[in-house]
Symmetry: C2
Subunit: 439 residues, 2 copies
């Protein structure tokens, strides 16, 4: 999609990768240089930069909204869906919300410099394992301009320079927002290249960014399966993929059925379009006859489309005619809408095995009154978050008390679950002696 022509002073920077015509590789080198200063910047300076971003967002709301209107108009012309246009659109309220999130980030502790652990060796050497920034983090995202500020702020606070690559659909909005964040950083004595924006370009530019092993430490994609596949094909820089959430709620034999109903409904319908919403319901055979007619009825009343295996279908009760037999693909599908598939299992071990075969390692819940079942489920389920008697919807950096998050990881290396400030860091060992040599 080619952005429409912008009025002078608004979208000019968005039409090229860089106003100075630098390549992605050159921009990444500049970000690496900037990261060295940022890595040792005091917390007070980083917080002042976040506050300066908030102040500029308030001062320049008109300019931001004007740039955003160009993107929205071009998107409408290009036939974007209403849902996509809504994600793309900024207004006064949304800009205020973005600025508000910055204040919350200022209030959080600085992960940089934390001593994770430390000990003295028998030979007297003192070792401290200290949290330090990764260096340069690239965030690749789709047409949500708020991510520009969210990602820049999380990276600044954690001492990382950020390379932002948004969608061309939001090119005008992102250019204004990224330039504003860079200006705010600079106003506090940090290098402007702490916030580097790479806009426009296509797959070639993505591949160029994804192969800058010498300058970029981590890529975080925030997008769907298409972006993931594109990155997997070309990335040489480490990537943390925020994979799909095919989350299960398992209602055990001993479950309180009121509690089970409340948790299943919350996990499915409170916000169905997100990765921590439940997509599957497993019910123990001992309570299936009592629970299924009731939960099918409640889910239907909440507008949920129902699919079931043969055993669950046979127990669906009066409304069985509206329940479809689930296909084999259903068990591996993340619907991200008001649909759920239901199966009957014979034991907690069967539930664990089902989740082992079909789960995506995101968030899994058991509802039970039986402490042995709870323990077996926590031990046996291999996922980022394993819940006992609580909704899967709590998997979120904010809900977990980690402050903001930049995504949610279902991979096992480095960060699993919410990716917050600490997860944007690495560590180094500081070792102190008084002339120690190895014998």
């Amino acid at each position: 999609m080619v952005p429409t022509a912008a009025p002078a002073g608004v979208g000019a920077a968005a039409r090229e990768s860089d106003p100075a015509g630098r390549s992605v590789a050159e921009l990444c080198v500049a970000a690496r240089e900037a990261s060295r200063a940022l890595a040792v910047a005091p917390t007070t300076v980083k917080n002042a930069a976040l506050e300066a971003i908030a102040a500029l967002l308030a001062q320049r709301t008109d300019e931001i909204l004007a740039a955003n209107q160009l993107d929205v108009a071009a998107g409408a012309e290009a036939g974007l869906t209403d849902a996509l246009l809504d994600r793309l659109r900024l207004d006064q309220r949304r800009v205020t919300a973005i600025a508000g999130a910055l204040s919350a980030l200022v209030a959080l502790g600085d992960p940089v410099g934390e001593i994770i652990e430390g000990w003295r060796l028998p030979n007297g050497l003192d070792i401290r394992k200290q949290r330090v920034p990764l260096g340069v983090v690239a965030v690749i995202y789709e047409a949500r301009p708020n991510v520009t500020i969210d990602a820049a702020a999380l990276c600044l606070k954690s001492g990382n320079a950020v390379v932002l690559r948004g969608s061309s659909t939001a090119a005008h909005s992102n250019a204004v927002l990224a330039a504003l964040a860079a200006e705010a950083a600079q106003s506090q004595g940090l290098p402007a290249a702490c916030v580097t924006h790479v806009s426009g370009g296509g797959r070639d530019e993505l591949a160029e960014l994804a192969t800058q092993r010498d300058t970029v430490d981590l890529i975080i994609p925030r997008g769907g399966e298409e972006l993931k596949a594109a990155l997997q094909a070309v990335a040489r820089v480490p990537v943390i993929y925020a994979a799909a959430g095919n989350c299960h709620v398992y209602v055990d034999a001993g479950a309180d059925l009121d509690r089970a109903e409340s948790i299943v409904l919350n996990a499915k319908v409170q916000r169905p379009g997100v990765c921590n919403a439940a997509e599957k319901l497993l019910v123990h055979a001992d309570v299936a006859a009592g629970f299924l007619p009731r939960i099918f009825s409640s889910l239907r009343a909440a507008g949920v489309q129902l699919r079931a295996d043969e055993r669950a279908l046979a127990l669906a009760g009066p409304g069985a005619g509206e329940v479809r037999l689930a296909s084999a693909e259903d068990w591996d599908t993340e619907y991200l809408d008001l649909t759920i598939a239901v199966a009957v299992v014979d034991s907690v071990a069967d539930a664990i095995a089902h989740i082992g075969r079909h789960g995506s390692g995101h968030s899994e819940a058991i509802v039970t009154a039986d402490v042995d079942a709870a323990r077996a489920f926590q031990l046996g389920v291999d996922a980022a978050c394993v819940y006992v008697n609580a909704s899967t919807r709590f998997t979120d950096g904010g809900e977990f008390g980690m402050g903001a998050e930049i995504g949610n990881s279902t991979q096992k290396l480095h960060a699993r679950g919410p990716i917050g400030l600490r997860e944007l860091c690495t560590y180094k060992y500081l070792v102190e002696g008084d002339g120690h040599v190895r014998s």
Copy 2:
């Protein structure tokens, strides 16, 4: 290299990827299945498996040495260097040492199940972040048969199934050792596929192993730059590369020169062929005239080849004739032998900048009496291990008190520095409520 024909009963399994003719992908699926049982195995069972390996090593030493002699004979015929043949060769003493390392591993604590941190949310949800195994770890290594047992034991202890891919040069030795480890695991009720051996095959098989994203969680290569490059080209599974160590010792203006001499000599000559040996010496201009003639003389006496920048060369003193002017490439070279390059710098900031340009992020040391210089160096140097007044040679899982190590990481994601038992783990969040739903 084609292994020579083996007598019946010794090398049969080494001639094919698998006695049952299974593909690498199929072997990885079996390892994944085995990993589920191993992940929840009690520490007592895992330790008993390690002890069973030690017992079998003692019982079957003759069989092991017979298989090893086939590899050594074939290697000699193929013209391997003496150094490579020495790495390949096993004898009674070395087998005993491998078994001894297992006892040390038994004595270490189990990383699985450790609570890394935990907290209660304002809404009453209790969160624990618990260490759990990664699942399946593939270790790719060169012709050192001892790695077969070391890697299998570290993975077993940390609850991970291991897929071992050794060099075809050690195919007979590895087949016997891996089969023995699998048998020991099985004798304690663990699945034999906890230790899976992939031998023979070439680049195609490496690529097959490196793309098993659904079954393999991590690849750890233990080899040189050639293996690294081969993996980088094909790997889709996450890899932790144990990169080169271009380590520096910086002698600051205020350094005690006796201490500096002792640390430089230790870091360079105590074991020059390893990644934590010093390859570069930086000396502050204020002490260069006093220190350089002395350290050049000591290093030369220890058999070290000397290279220097122009400033250091000018101060080399009486033996300057034996010091070569360093080339631009020298500063980026890991010699791994008795060679060192020396430069004069004007400040701790210059030393940090030099290390930032040329260091490989492994181990860097400052020798100083000045607390501000020490603090600046620790803050400014971006490396896995930063030493004050101690030799770089301490970077090692054993020296650090972490027990054994499977390698040393110079990358920033997941594990930096020694990769021990904990670094072979991930974590999961266990969340407990009493009917909590999100509002």
